[in-house]
């Protein structure tokens, strides 16, 4: 019995600490494990006994690449307990903040984490030796995303300006205007990015995922929407626990999520795009078409094109939001705590991020549940490996390993995020 094991002890160009183990027996893929050994930090446990006002600052520290996503899911969930809904300029500012994070995160992934795989480089520093202009382009694009976060959030990593009800300080319009020229240039770079990545060589491989994302009327989703799938799911955010469950497996500190009564599912740019491509800006739609994307995309290798299209959209949307921005009278609406439970889901760059909190009448947190997109995607990522690797077994170990890493990086896993959240149910045996 010939057994071949492909191992990567520490995955590079993913956020956080993960490893790959692919087991092949008799030329059949027996098992694929994305082993998450990122040390667990127990956020849901440590949030108990903290004030709800501290939540945005604490949950930001779940992830250095997507802190805004955690802040957004948290404040929306807690505000729903207080019965507060943001409209107008404050709602727009939160979308603008998210645009900044999408631009920063997607540019980082496309240029520095994913593109090197397609071009045969160890990383972007290597890539810069032959393609310095391209790497500079990616860095310039990422920088604009960070500049939005700095102006609106105070700083790019762990922004300080997000609070319950809005912001500690609303920006003056004149503070946002210098971003306009930068965003226009970024938008040009984003278009160039779509055209560049569309020319990569892609495996013609698809899987019939159940794609899950937010969807709401009139906008590509950031902070609001119902949870929908391409297999007929259409639920309010509060019903998430009824339709999704988590389990704890031995090889991963990140819990795995499944559809109740169903299997794995996929969230993230492919899902968002496939379920909302009609809501993109005209320019983004045009570029998607030019790049050969149909209204739906289930080829995970082409996710790099989808992220590039979302980069174009985020620049467009940020420009629209700044142009229409009117300074609000107050930087935040008043929120009063009361005992209760609140849920929210928002679209992090990597996919849908679900939060649920229970607080007491004084606003102290009693329970917290945080389900990041990467943990939701883990079973699908592993199934990708099991499925695709079967067609690559003729390759030597090194090449096979690289292919497997690429297959993982397709999904831009954010492992520090994925490693600390709360069970919903007792695990099945």
């Amino acid at each position: 019995m010939e057994r071949r094991t492909i191992k990567v002890d520490l995955l590079a160009r993913v956020e956080g600490e993960g490893a790959l183990r692919l087991t092949v027996q008799n030329n059949v893929v027996r098992d694929a494990e994305l082993r998450i050994f990122e040390p667990p930090r127990f956020f849901e446990a440590l949030l108990r006994g903290r004030s709800w006002t501290e939540t945005p600052d604490i949950v930001a520290r779940i992830c250095g690449i997507c802190p805004v996503a955690y802040q957004m899911s948290a404040v929306h969930a807690l505000e729903s307990i207080a019965g507060a809904r943001l409209e107008g300029p404050l709602r727009d500012l939160r979308r603008l903040l998210y645009c900044g994070e999408w631009i920063e995160s997607h540019a980082l992934h496309v240029y520095m984490l994913h593109a090197p795989d397609f071009l045969g480089y160890q990383g972007s520093i290597d890539m810069a030796r032959d393609h310095a202009d391209l790497v500079r382009q990616g860095l310039a694009l990422k920088k604009v995303g960070n500049e939005i976060l700095e102006v609106l959030g105070g700083r790019a990593i762990h922004p300080v300006n997000v609070c319950l009800g809005g912001f500690y300080r609303a920006p003056r319009k004149r503070e946002l205007l210098p971003l306009v020229e930068k965003l226009k240039r970024a938008r040009d770079l984003a278009c160039a990015t779509v055209r560049w990545v569309a020319g990569f060589e892609f495996f013609d491989l698809e899987r019939d995922y159940e794609l899950v994302a937010l969807r709401g009327p009139g906008e590509y989703p950031f902070n609001a929407g119902r949870i929908v799938s391409d297999k007929g799911l259409d639920i309010a955010v509060e019903d998430f626990p009824k339709h999704f469950q988590e389990e704890h497996v031995a090889h991963s500190n990140a819990l795995h999520a499944h559809r109740r009564g169903g299997g794995a599912y996929l969230t993230g740019p492919l899902a968002r795009y496939s379920l909302n491509s009609d809501q993109l800006s005209p320019l983004a739609k045009e570029l998607a078409k030019e790049a050969g994307l149909g209204p739906v995309c289930k080829n995970p290798f082409r996710s790099i094109i989808v992220r590039a299209v979302e980069l174009v959209y985020a620049c467009d949307e940020a420009l629209r939001l700044i142009e229409t921005y009117q300074e609000p009278d107050r930087s935040a609406v008043a929120v009063q705590p009361r005992a209760g439970v609140g849920h929210a889901a928002t679209e992090a760059p990597r996919g849908m991020l679900y939060h649920r909190y229970r607080i007491d009448a004084a606003g102290m947190i009693q329970e917290a549940t945080i389900i990041p997109p990467t943990s939701q995607n883990q079973p699908s990522i592993e199934q990708d490996l099991r499925t695709f690797a079967g067609g690559w077994l003729d390759l030597d170990d090194d090449t096979l390993r690289l292919r497997c890493e690429l297959a993982i990086r397709n999904h831009d896993p954010c492992i520090s995020c994925a490693t600390h959240f709360l069970k919903l149910d007792v695990v099945r045996d």
Partner: protein, 260 residues
């Protein structure tokens, strides 16, 4: 001054953390390629595939120690590094995950994971300096990317980094920000917190929450008396000192003087 005979080898190591401090290096968009020219970025898994081998002239260590595996690994990192610099609150003071140090971690595990036996974790989250000798600490949650460049620059030039340990108040006053404590009665840890962030929170109408850890000679007892007079409860005061730098001695000690 003549250039160094060889490009210094840089390595970036991650322990228990959110990755934000490493990301600060990638956020030096204007300077990154210049850094790559001045140092050999020899090991940086976030950015590049590559193997761990040889000795590194400068090791940047992010994250705290929370597992037996990592408690062993850090010694290996020390052996491989000429100069070892811890970056960020997790590495320098335990990070937010060090809140477990004040609770029962087994209960934490049970709350989060259905199969506790699958989890290898220590009861504590400890700063790197509790395990090995550290040559320099760069504070922050996250660190300030300009200060990171300063640390790299200092290493290349053979001098000490210039990262003043005085209070955040200096940065507020240089910016021209009006003190939120004095003008609005807002609780602020600026007077006892290490500078480096540029006093961002008061510029956004909120009090400093101490994410850069204690300044050089913090008088937390005196500040706490004022904050109590502002109306902060004992519980709120304890939580204020117990956030991202719980194992920083002056903050830990002050947090233990308060509580419900």
């Amino acid at each position: 001054m003549a250039t160094a005979p060889h490009k210094p080898r840089l390595a970036v190591f991650k322990f228990s953390s959110c990755d934000g401090c490493q990301l600060s290096l990638l956020d030096c968009e204007d300077e990154l390629l210049e850094v790559a020219g001045a140092v050999d970025i020899a090991y940086f898994p976030e950015a590049t595939r590559g193997d761990l081998h040889g000795t590194y002239d400068l090791a940047l260590v992010e994250g705290s120690i929370t597992t037996t595996h990592d408690a062993a690994r850090i010694h290996q990192v020390r052996r491989q590094s000429r100069r070892l610099v811890t970056i960020g609150a997790c590495a320098t003071a335990g990070g937010i995950q060090a809140l477990r140090n004040f609770k029962d971690v087994n209960e934490f595990i049970r709350v989060v994971y259905a199969r506790p036996e699958y989890i290898d974790t220590l009861a504590t989250s400890t700063p790197i300096s509790q395990h090995i000798k550290v040559d320099f600490e760069l504070r922050g949650c996250p660190i300030n990317k300009k200060q990171l460049l300063e640390v790299i620059n200092a290493c290349v030039a053979g001098r000490q980094p210039n990262t003043p340990p005085h209070s955040v108040c200096h940065e507020c006053k240089l910016r021209g920000t009006t003190c939120v404590m004095v003008s609005s009665g807002t609780a602020c840890l600026g007077p006892v917190t290490h500078a480096g962030c540029g006093a961002v929170c008061p510029a956004y109408n909120r009090g400093c929450y101490g994410c850069f850890g204690p300044m050089e000679t913090p008088n937390t007892a005196s500040l706490s008396r004022s904050l109590r007079a502002f109306g902060l409860s004992e519980d709120a005061l304890q939580r204020l000192y117990r956030t991202f730098n719980p194992e920083a001695k002056p903050f830990r000690a002050e947090s233990e003087r308060h509580g419900a």
